[in-house]
Symmetry: C2
Subunit: 200 residues, 2 copies
């Protein structure tokens, strides 16, 4: 069974869109997915160009495009009232959960966080909200709180970002399949073609 | 018969990709296309964020994506040896041709310029090259040269850019259908859905 790396920022609606498809897509070609939360760096000028806020026309277009694309692809979506927001704590929660309970539990938490933010309009920048989401998945709230604040977890999140940057990841969503990069929800079709070619 | 506005920069490969599809797509839904060359502004920070050159990882990815996307969509493409380049003169040539001989002749010239740049690797920043492309379409080389340097043509190109910016256009390719914006070759599927809904 092959695997691919899925990088995303919880503050990226296109990352959320991809999160609703990536596992099923990979599974069709006998691949598993390693989920890598991207600690809120994806929208910094250093990694993806001028912040949308600096270009009102682009910002307005993009907000319209989120809604229109979600409808086009039949993905439940509501632009959060607090958007974008700091996702470092959410990334830590997922990273800690993966380390302690494995990839599948980490993915389940990441999916629950995406849903809380883009469907239920919850503020996932708030630690209490994140802990409640974790508890709903059966995690121990106190342990999760400690995990989020653990210096090892913080170091892991920083190290993941450095590694991702070193691998050429600069935006969200970003997929690496055998070193081949696919940036954006719009590239899942070309990712599928690559998976197809690989399994042929 | 309805119409839609197609904005593009000759220095934008995704604009070229869209140029190979937009007329046929519009025609299927009984729409005609007004082509608007975008005078090399589309890649300036003021309109589309940090220049790709400022982010090596993004620049390298994008160059790979041009080639991969062209192959995926079966569009003839070769990254030009001089890329990107100043496209103001090419925009003037098309603008002058449209004004003097009508939209269809302007579109034919724009398509020939795209082909010269992305298929034949000709330097379309060079006036002589542009004039030769025009002559191959039956235009008078001396008239075209005068037209390119005509102050009225220059003013037209500036005015088109101001109008486009006022309409919220900030990148290439960009389509406006009854005021609804579609940015990027990746949005032709949603543009088609809008044309379908309109004709339903």
């Amino acid at each position: 069974m092959g695997s691919l790396d899925f990088y995303f920022d919880f503050s990226s609606p296109y990352g959320y869109f991809a999160s609703t498809r990536i596992n099923e897509l990979a599974k069709r070609y006998n691949h598993r997915v390693d989920w890598h939360p991207f600690a809120g760096e994806a929208f910094k000028p250093s990694t993806t160009g001028t912040s949308l806020v600096q270009n009102p026309a682009k910002r307005d277009y993009t907000r319209k495009d989120y809604v229109r694309s979600a409808a086009f692809h039949q993905i439940p979506f509501k632009l959060p009232s607090v958007f974008p927001l700091e996702t470092r704590i959410a990334a830590r929660a997922v990273m800690w959960t993966e380390s302690k309970f494995g990839e599948d539990k980490g993915i389940a938490l990441a999916q629950a966080i995406f849903k809380a933010y883009y469907v239920e309009d919850k503020n996932i920048g708030d630690p209490q909200t994140l802990v409640a989401i974790g508890e709903a998945l059966g995690l121990n709230g106190e342990e999760l709180t400690q995990g989020i604040n653990d210096s090892f977890t913080k170091e892991q999140v920083r190290a993941e970002l450095d590694l991702a940057t070193a691998r050429g990841v600069f935006g969200s969503p970003f997929v690496l399949l055998d070193g081949e990069p696919f940036w954006g929800f719009d590239r899942l079709d070309q990712l599928e073609a690559a998976l197809q070619a690989k399994s042929a």
